[in-house]
């Protein structure tokens, strides 16, 4: 299964407005369409995960992720903040691109790690940061994933 199949247009936001790490995490969680209480729990879990070490992997990309009982299947979202945000990334650079991955503790198809790995691989492709910056629509983001065929 390819990365493109996990993303939906509604879970892509190319103009994140949050000005803080917390705000952006909440905005990203909002893309998943969960109920308010689930959003609140997920936010706490993602924050705690960030406290163990930033998920900013460098080159302007962060992959906030966790497993949580509040979702019943693997959920992913993509967000872009063009002017960047301090996310305590490994290379200390501002983060512009956010890939959110959340999965339940038990998955029949066990897709969490493969998807996490594919996104990390995608993020390492030399042209990806520039391509993500030039996206004009969510459809173009989905097209980029399709083109990379990961």
């Amino acid at each position: 299964m390819e990365l493109r199949e996990f993303f939906h247009r509604d879970a892509v936001n190319l103009e994140l407005e949050g000005e803080s790490k917390d705000d952006v995490l909440k905005e990203m969680i909002g893309l998943l369409g969960l109920d308010e209480k689930s959003e609140s729990i997920l936010f706490k879990m993602l924050k705690r995960r960030e406290n163990l070490g930033s998920t900013g992997i460098g080159r302007g990309i962060a992959i906030p992720h966790c497993r949580s009982l509040v979702v019943n299947r693997l959920r992913v979202a993509f967000g872009r903040k063009s002017k960047g945000l301090d996310f305590n990334a490994i290379d200390s650079s501002p983060v512009h691109y956010f890939f959110l991955i959340v999965a339940p503790p038990l998955e029949v198809s066990n897709q969490y790690l493969p998807v996490l790995g594919k996104i990390a691989q995608f993020a390492k492709e030399p042209d990806v940061p520039a391509r993500l910056q030039s996206l004009a629509t969510p459809e173009e983001f989905l097209g980029l994933l399709e083109e990379k065929a990961l």
Binding site: K37, I41, L52, L69
Partner: protein, 119 residues
């Protein structure tokens, strides 16, 4: 959602994170290799948080939780498609079909685990 259930869910998720880091299974390895998490430090942080959250449970719920946790890896499990995902025995539809289904603390009649209805 029942506030105590919310705490139980968080404890379970934290313990899941801890387990991956302790066992350094595939997920733990990814955290260490890809995201540069220092496993021992992270485990300490998680332990502190888990202890704090256990302290927020009402005594009866905490006792029950610890009793189940002593014998089973996952004391809190989702109900998916009407099944307890701990023992895979069907849960009565009165439990799974209720709109306010997570507003009460519920258990599986078969295995005793705390139940959380998803979806």
């Amino acid at each position: 959602m029942h506030p105590q259930l919310e705490i139980l869910l968080q404890i379970q998720d934290l313990k899941s994170q801890r387990r991956h880091l302790t066992e350094l299974d595939d997920e733990g390895e990814v955290e260490v290799q890809e995201f540069h998490v220092v496993a021992d430090d992270a485990i300490n942080v998680l332990d502190q948080r888990i202890t704090e959250m256990l302290g927020q449970l009402e005594t009866a719920i905490r006792n029950r939780y610890e009793r189940i946790a002593a014998g089973r890896a996952r004391p809190v499990v989702p109900v998916i498609n009407g099944l307890c995902y701990g023992c895979f025995v069907a849960i009565p539809t009165a439990v799974t079909g209720d709109v306010h289904r997570n507003d009460e603390i519920r258990h599986c009649d078969h295995c005793g685990r705390f139940l959380y209805v998803t979806g």
